[in-house]
């Protein structure tokens, strides 16, 4: 497109809305990654010996990889200056009472921060606009830099036997569960960033849904990076026992800073017989400015294991933030007739880069997977869909359907599709469809001639393009995601 659109250029210059910094005193470790640092993190969290050992194993492996030059994976289609892992601070936590007796004791600065982000830490407050009082709220675990600062609705969830708390608390209160499942889906040695995370992970969320329980409300974690010069390395572990159901949402933002900050998370999901986990992400880390200065490096390993008969794991992600995203939420379809789904919208504008996709590993019989990936590139954004569908020799009757659509705005952006298929069972049926389209000047003008502003026309077309994915999100968040897409796209055309 011709670069003639002043309205959109104006909007392009609009600032990232969540770029503010909270002034709060933080307890932080000096930068650098040493065995000492790993021990200190573990000690701060009063962790049991086995967990420290786990971290140290990961730390040694990570050092080995660094030393052998096995660093960041070279295959991802992203580029950045080398990361100095000794310049990063691995632990920063707001100073507050170590254990809050109630949510009322939360530091007002922190409460104000979450209010500003639109996240309610008040339990009585229901999500806006949902009239009928019987509708459950959303339980939130709020993670600020390296620690969880508050978790709402815990008592109500406990009535159903559901555990929902920060990862650190889970280690203290439910060590057996944590020990059984931690690293069981993503081993510490899985990849460079997973290994780094296993060594230094600070906090994150933990949920366990007992047998036959349908979680009565959405669970969510809201990640906020605040401190400068730090990385965030959170760890999330969700376990749905036989016949359980849970819908979980993750959101994230960070202040606007000129430096790049590293976010290397690990998420593990375990679904047992007939259990279902729906995991949704609305990722809005600071993307850097229009020239590509600053922004979060989002290098994340997310994987779910469908361990039982008819287990189901569904990933839905809307990725609009981060300077660089490297992320492949995957499903191990182990149980017979288990189901994996991946619905993704990834948007890159300005200088953002994203290499994202999924892996569907079919192991059990009659396993099914669906992949719907929608990539939107604008400005100088560059993105790749990278997806692996692997059908194991015993996966008789496995089926996969993949659809990858790219929408380009302007002629400076890029979209690439890398589908990989490894099928070792002849009965498998695998389908792949891909399209690339552009928002044309004629489409925009058509809308304007009908009285619709260009801005509304762009978001209407983009939302239309993404609707197969957006409708997978819980209703409350679908609206948020739509707005986010519009904001992230402002200035995209022209």
């Amino acid at each position: 497109m011709s670069g003639t659109n002043p309205e959109l250029e104006r909007l392009a210059k609009q600032e990232y809305k969540y770029g503010f910094v909270t002034e709060i005193e933080e307890d932080r470790l000096p930068p650098g990654l040493t065995e000492e640092v790993v021990r200190l993190i573990s000690a701060k969290k009063e962790e049991p010996e086995w967990l420290l050992e786990y971290r140290l194993k990961a730390f040694r492996r990570f050092r080995e990889m660094l030393d052998e030059g096995e660093g960041e994976p070279g295959w991802a289609k992203v580029s950045h200056a080398p990361i100095d892992y000794d310049a990063i601070t691995y632990y920063a936590a707001p100073k507050q009472k170590p254990k809050l007796e109630s949510l009322d004791e939360l530091d007002p600065e922190l409460r104000a921060t979450y209010d500003k982000l639109g996240i309610s830490l008040l339990e009585q407050k229901r999500l806006h606009g949902i009239g009928d009082g019987s509708r459950p709220g959303v339980a939130v675990d709020a993670v600020f830099d390296s620690v969880s600062v508050a978790t709402t609705f815990k008592a109500e969830l406990e009535k159903h036997g559901i555990v929902f708390c920060s990862f650190s608390e889970a280690v203290r209160e439910h060590p057996d569960l944590v020990r059984e499942y931690l690293g069981s889906v993503v081993p510490y040695s899985d990849n460079f960033f997973a290994c780094l995370n296993a060594a230094v992970f600070s906090d994150g969320s933990f949920a366990y849904i007992p047998k036959g329980v349908r979680c009565p409300m959405e669970l969510s974690t809201y990640f906020r990076i605040n401190a400068a010069g730090t990385g965030q390395f959170e760890r999330t572990l969700l376990v749905a026992d036989e016949g359980a159901y849970v819908s979980y949402l993750e959101g994230c933002t960070a202040p606007q800073r000129d430096e790049n900050q590293l976010h290397a998370a690990v998420v593990e999901l375990v679904a047992l017989d007939r259990a279902e986990i729906k995991y949704s992400t609305v990722q809005n880390w600071y993307p850097g400015d229009k020239d590509g200065k600053g922004g979060i490096y989002n290098f994340v390993t997310k994987r779910g294991a469908c361990r039982g008969y008819r287990s189901k794991i569904s990933w839905t992600q809307v990725e609009t933030g981060s300077a660089i995203t490297w992320k492949y939420p995957s499903c191990l379809l182990i149980g017979d007739e288990s189901v994996g789904e991946f619905y993704s919208v990834a948007m890159t504008n300005n200088r953002q880069q994203a290499d994202t996709g999924t892996k569907m590993i079919h192991i059990g019989k009659n396993t099914k997977s669906t992949i719907v990936s929608k990539g939107i590139s604008a400005g100088h954004g560059d993105q790749s869909y990278r997806g692996l569908v692997k059908i194991g020799p015993k996966a008789t009757g496995a089926r996969n359907y993949s659809q990858c659509d790219s929408l380009l705005m302007g002629d400076q952006c890029g979209a690439h599709t890398f589908p990989y298929l490894e099928a070792s069972n002849p009965t498998a049926i695998v389908e792949h469809e891909a399209t690339t389209s552009k928002i044309s000047d004629d489409q925009l003008f058509f809308c304007r001639q009908r009285g619709i502003s260009e801005e509304d026309a762009v978001s209407m077309i983009v939302n239309g393009f993404c609707k197969d994915v957006l409708r997978e999100l819980p209703m409350e968040f679908a609206v948020e995601a739509q707005n986010l897409l519009s904001v992230s796209l402002e200035g995209a055309v022209g």
């Binding site: 003639t4 389209s437 044309s440 000047d441 004629d442 489409q443 003008f445 058509f446 809308c447 304007r448 001639q449 009908r450 009285g451 619709i452 502003s453 260009e454 509304d456 209407m460 077309i461 939302n463 239309g464 393009f465 609707k467």
Partner: protein, 259 residues
């Protein structure tokens, strides 16, 4: 017929990507009138309609366009639309993923907001939509489909007329809406256009064929050639053109080129 001049085009010169296309158009449309514009391919008919609705890529180098006394050239395209200027496109675009009914409601509500009216809710809009769809004989399921996606040529044109019926603009420009229509579709489209005829509205109907004008009888007919109106007359001029072609006009002088 009312004497009020709704649209006044004065000495309009316009270029497309730097090339002069319109070379001095003068045209007045009074409220209640239907004017037909005919002329050979490439004479500037679509350019004229595009300039009227403010399509980017054209530059007005001289002249003015007044709509209800207001300077149309100073308004953004969406404002012109909300003020009541409508173009039924010669080639309607497809917009995959955006449902027709959602799009139409957005458009109707944008115009309503502009006039200080409350938005129509989904139910009210639906009954309005149903009523208008009957006029153009469109089946219900077409509204759930994406805008023009996979529509046949004739269905796209009917969809344009449907949009016009919903938006109720005061100045309607139809750019070859009759081209490519079968006999039934032509009757349907013409029926839609005639419904819009009213003492408050003016229409500019661009066409190559008399057959539309049999249904939609124009008050004036203009012939555009090489960016100028070279002949104007009443409805009989169209019949004459049908019979003799354009040759006799183009070689002649521009006498009678006043609307």
């Amino acid at each position: 017929m009312s004497e009020e001049v709704l649209v006044s085009i004065r000495n309009l010169h316009a270029t497309a990507n730097g090339t002069p296309i319109l070379k001095g158009i003068d045209l007045d449309l009074r409220a209640g009138e239907v004017h037909a514009v005919m002329g050979p391919n490439g004479s500037g008919k679509s350019t004229l309609s595009n300039v009227l609705v403010g399509k980017p890529g054209y530059e007005v180098t001289k002249g003015e366009i007044l709509f209800r006394g207001k300077n149309l050239l100073e308004m953004e395209p969406e404002i012109r639309a909300r003020e009541g200027v409508f173009l039924a496109f010669q080639y309607p675009v497809e917009i995959p993923g955006v449902a027709n009914n959602y799009f139409l409601r957005t458009a109707v509500n944008a115009a309503r907001a502009h006039r200080g009216l409350d938005p129509l809710d989904a139910m009210d809009f639906l009954s309005l939509l149903r009523e208008k769809m009957k006029i153009v004989e469109m089946p219900d399921d077409m509204m759930k489909r994406a805008i023009n996606e996979g529509f046949s040529g004739g269905e796209k044109k009917r969809n344009e007329i449907l949009q016009m019926l919903l938006l109720e603009p005061d100045f309607c420009i139809l750019d070859e809406t009759d081209s490519g229509l079968d006999i039934d579709a032509l009757r349907i489209v013409a029926g839609g256009v005639n419904r819009m005829r009213s003492p408050e509205r003016a229409m500019l109907v661009i066409t190559h064929y008399q057959r539309l004008l049999d249904y939609v009888v124009p008050d004036r007919v203009h012939v555009l050639s090489k960016g100028r109106i070279v002949r104007s007359g009443d409805k009989d001029l169209a019949l004459e053109l049908e019979e003799k072609g354009y040759g006799w006009i183009e070689t002649g002088d521009a006498a009678g080129a006043r609307s």
